[in-house]
Amino acid sequence: MASSTVKLDELISQEYKHGFFTSVETDTVPRGLSEDVIRLISAKKGEPDFLLEWRLKAYRHWLTMAEPHWATVHHPAIDYQDITYYSAPKSRQDGPKSLDEVDPELLRTYEKLGVPLEERALLAGVAVDAVFDSVSVATTFKDKLAGLGIIFCSFSEAVREHPELVRQYLGSVVPYTDNFFASLNSAVFSDGSFCYIPPGVRCPMELSTYFRINARNTGQFERTLIIADKGAYVSYLEGCTAPMRDENQLHAAVVELIALEDAQIKYATVQNWYPGDKEGHGGIYNFVTKRGDCRGANSKISWTQVETGSAITWKYPSVILQGDNAVGEFYSVALTNHYQQADTGTKMIHLGKNTRSTILSKGISAGHGSNAYRGLVKVAKSAVGARNYTQCDSLLLGDRCAAHTFPYIEVKNPTARVEHEASTSRIGEDQLFYCQSRGIAPEDAVSMIVSGFCKEVFKELPMEFAVEAQKLLGVSLEGSIG
């Protein structure tokens, strides 16, 4: 057994393939946080007063809050005064109009990551809004989308061009008082993506954003706002990966989705930020608030996530089911290896009549990884006939990792039906040997078993993303279980 444990370890210890550092000049605000820094950020971005006021209110509220510690994650104290809250690629303040204007160094970086921008954009028909550090540097397919009345742009641009929409919806799902990290984000967010689909319009392509953390000591505070107006449909993809580095980096994004009557939003994420090294040093702290609001009747919001990166992941993409007959879905694969920690899950808040939600969570732990599913299903008194189905499966690789499940259920309406199923299984040496005895290498056997475990979630991803996700799991797991 001892020898096979060693082998298992070797398999798990795959180096992070996206660990490299790009030397693009950045324009950085001094470290630390104060009202002055917030005013400076707001001024640099030429924001209207309402937004500055909102940031300041968020900051003042944040000062009254304490960092939460209820998640089953552990990390050294974060010094919020040692973080740089804003950095933008230099001499690109207006953003390039086309790919030709993008720093070639940056394009090479994307290529190393296997995301050849132009190729992806052209071949897959995907509109890519690439975020480098905090400012959008490339936006494509905008004209085609604009023809349909779709607005898809950086958050900063939305603030400039469509302040009324931003003002109407910003903070309407995740208020600046929501939680410690959301308040911090509200105070200092630098950029992100904005998307508005007008009534009755079906967005003809997958919208996609690639995030990347790069500048030293720069916390990332992305803000994403997606609005599907009545009867609209949009599928949005978010994918990220980060270069290798020593220091822990805080990432506290906020994503707000709003679906009005009969509208549908599908939001998919593949998250592969630097997870730290084999001993657990470095890596990204990913403390994200993602929430969707099914505001209108018959609306639908689906979250699909594949989480393989970050040292610590703390996120609960949630859906507030306000409209009658609204549908919320959460499909998740979360993988932790080495010393990674993940505390993730969802909240389904049933308010409207006959609202339905489905939760399918697949947790994979390897090495010393720790993986917790935390889910809340809440059925309010008003939610007559609400239904929820939750399935929560854990897969363990090796015997030093951990999986926890914390399902919270609060039902205030007697007509509601809430079902919960859970399972835990382990990839055993005997399964590996069985595959090996059929000629299959242990790494391949591991990814075969893991893919099998995840296939119900991958089914929910757009095709090309599913392939990417599968590859990612393979890379993240090389060494975990064969």
Binding site: M1, S3, S4, K7, S425, G428, E429, D430, Q431, F433, Y434, C435, Q436, S437, R438, G439, I440, A441, P442, D444, M448, I449, G452, F453, K455
Partner: protein
């Protein structure tokens, strides 16, 4: 094809095999019998490369190479196949998917292109019929919820698809009903060829009515205590193992 010399194997410092000598030539079928716990499965696992066993002495040559230095998957790619006494369940992985990964791993090793989906399916369906198996077993998770007999048939199906040079069948007949035994034996017999060797571990001479072996060996207390022809199996069935064990000497004793 296979040459085992003075093979000693322990598990957690406990000696299980204590000097096995066995030669199997291409085209031959050998049966290994012996009481429970005598080390038959241990031998099969060691030949397939299971890492839970420690070889403390001896050597094994396969097609002229030192078999013991090869990883289990390399052994499989070089043509060794083990039909497990207890086939392993792999939830979430479709049976056909494992089979395809295995076929392509072997083909890649031989420098052949991967089989496309159509050719692969034709190949599998053909063998499936031979084994009298239902197509839906292909799409279920590997061995999960399979009956005992279905698991054993599935092992032989894999063997038929992978076409090994040396097949080790560990109690493939156990748990099969009479009809299934005939089907499985038919499948095995169909694969007998001058280039292929087989080692059958069994407790029942009945199997040997259908698959007639060239040699029968009795494993007792970690050694081959007796070898003979087909008739040895009949004698064992009549007399039990006691007399062989007595002749082999006390357990744990020297040579």
């Amino acid at each position: 094809m296979l040459d085992i010399r003075n093979l000693h194997v322990s598990i957690n410092d406990k000696p299980i095999l204590r000097g096995i000598d066995l030669t199997v030539r291409a085209g031959e079928v050998h049966a290994i019998m012996g009481p429970n716990g005598s080390g038959k499965s241990t031998l099969a696992h060691v030949l397939a490369g299971h890492e839970g066993y420690t070889v403390t002495a001896g050597e094994v040559r396969y097609l002229g190479r030192n078999l013991l230095e090869l990883s289990p998957e390399l052994r499989a790619r070089e043509g060794i196949f083990l039909a497990f006494q207890y086939p392993v369940e792999i939830p979430g992985v479709a049976n056909i998917y494992l089979l395809k990964a295995a076929v392509n791993a072997l083909r890649q090793h031989r420098g052949e292109p991967e089989l496309d989906a159509v050719d692969f399916l034709a190949l599998v369906k053909d063998k499936l019929k031979l084994m009298g198996m239902d197509t839906d077993l292909l799409y279920r998770s590997v061995n999960e919820g399979f009956s005992g007999g279905e698991k054993k048939r599935n092992e032989i199906l894999q063997m038929a698809v992978l076409e090994p040079r040396l097949a080790l069948l560990d109690e493939t007949d156990s748990g099969l009903d009479i009809d299934a035994l005939k089907v499985v034996a038919g499948g095995v017999n169909a694969m007998r060829s001058p280039e292929r060797a087989m080692v059958l571990v069994t407790h029942y001479q009945r199997l040997l009515n259908y698959i007639v072996p060239d040699q029968v060996h009795v494993l007792a207390q970690g050694r081959i205590a007796l070898s003979g022809g087909r008739e040895l199996a009949l004698e064992l069935e009549n007399r039990g193992y006691g007399w062989v064990e007595a002749a082999a000497g006390p357990a744990g004793g020297g040579a």
